[in-house]
Symmetry: C2
Subunit: 334 residues, 2 copies
Amino acid sequence: MRRIAARTLLLLAACSAAGQNATDPLPSWNDGGPKQAILRFVKNVTAEGSATFVPKEERIATFDNDGTLWVEQPIYTQFAFMLDRLRVLAPQHPEWRTQQPFQAILTGGAEALLAGGERGLMQVGMATHAGMTTKEFESIVSEWMRTAQHPRFHRPYTQCVYQPMLELLAHLRANGFKTYIVSGGGVEFMRPWTEKTYGIPPEQIIGSSIKTQYEMRSGEPVLMRLPEMDFIDDKGGKPVGINEFIGRRPIAAFGNSDGDQQMLEWTAAGSGSRLMLLVHHTDATREYAYDRKSHIGRLDKALDEAIARSWIVVDMKRDWKTIFPEASVRGSEQ
Amino acid sequence: MRRIAARTLLLLAACSAAGQNATDPLPSWNDGGPKQAILRFVKNVTAEGSATFVPKEERIATFDNDGTLWVEQPIYTQFAFMLDRLRVLAPQHPEWRTQQPFQAILTGGAEALLAGGERGLMQVGMATHAGMTTKEFESIVSEWMRTAQHPRFHRPYTQCVYQPMLELLAHLRANGFKTYIVSGGGVEFMRPWTEKTYGIPPEQIIGSSIKTQYEMRSGEPVLMRLPEMDFIDDKGGKPVGINEFIGRRPIAAFGNSDGDQQMLEWTAAGSGSRLMLLVHHTDATREYAYDRKSHIGRLDKALDEAIARSWIVVDMKRDWKTIFPEASVRGSEQ
């Protein structure tokens, strides 16, 4: 009898563990405030007949990309792309051997790029991102993404994405949410790989953009990428982009830096159920630790506002069981 | 025996008629080339395993609005809105009594507005469309749409939509298409009513836009509409807008004027199954008849290209059984 009871208990425990695994949509999140708040929010907005219910078509969730969905240190991935691209193009531009900021960046790399400030970045950005058709640029980005590796994690950048956030994206979509990226990064730098990596289709990617122009090239219509900024999707630009592209206010917004503050404010200012969340990079061992003083992804004023307004602040070290997807699993998907 | 046979035949005929009605997704289209081409195209792209099959996520269809989905004569609906709005605002602008183009338009109406050319239109556009928050503008448009009537058809503008095109939109969506509007009209002039009228949600409306700016107003974040053009979604701007907002090339595009020519070219230039269609306004009795010489919705070069490239040209008079939805039916939905 005792033996039977023990086996029954074991069986029950096993079932319960299996049940928990099977039903936990966020297995890479440690139990705690952020995980509970996310699960509660999703439950509330999908509870038909309740005061917290939100109709499916209004379940819009917007995610920053750099530092929120994937690594942004030691420099934004798009900056790494710029540097590589500059080196590829250099042989065709002998003038860069003496011309600034090109000469400095070609010899000094990332540090020189960051030292060149806004103006230098813009010059290098235009030299590497304009002057080709949208189709050509898509091929360039796709090829680079296939071959480039993160300098510290030695894996493709598309595998330097946060496993807990992938689970969060999937959980929201499973509950009728439309998930969007709203990033300061270039929209055409993201679209070639976001569907495969995040499950977010091109039409749900909002980002910074340069102007394009419709032209006929030997009877074939093309869109030429011009060396002129069109839209900067950062800070106050994020609500502007959200309004322009989506035309609805999100009910959930996810970011990690001061560049996301206005997106979270805009989301918070709507009526009904709301979720505002910041990822705080606190894990120098498994990823990076930075906030108020970082040049990349500074989190300062937004952190103060998050604390003052009780927005969710994810402590990466405490709240995330794992950081990245298992390389083999992701690798096989690429 | 003969009586039974006759009854059987009658019964069969009735069943057949009922069956035809039940399965004809385009009942307001007369049988003929355009209807057959549409039905064939939809069948082809949804035939799994066939060479003409297109995966669901790539089934993007883009529709012009003015003259393609709703009436654009005697003037674009948004121009009628501008004129009404100008009259509403006039008491607050005593300077308009002498200032041009305002004085001329306030006394001369639509003709004076059109006579003022691009520059006059822009001035009146900014005076009526900017200087308020996006939320305030949405209320202004919604209220106007609720009360304004078309001068000839004496019904709300949202009932001056084409019944055959409503059926086409529904048929495409029933077959996995994502339907978009890509219009020269203002995006925020359309979004308040397009979901109810066409079943197209705000995030699938692409249009012309003015700049907006994120501001705090007594602690509340707002988007202020600035008197400055941001994007003109017409002619070559249509492929630009499609690329910027959707990031995929449509496989079907629908227009009615030279402003849609580049959108149809861009669509046609993709590989695989394609459908390009122009609505030709040929019915002065039931709607309007105009093409090469019209100031509104001119169809000249695009008509030549459509004929040369065998795009579908809908002859409104010949191909459409009905033009507008039954007023009572639409009315009850409003």
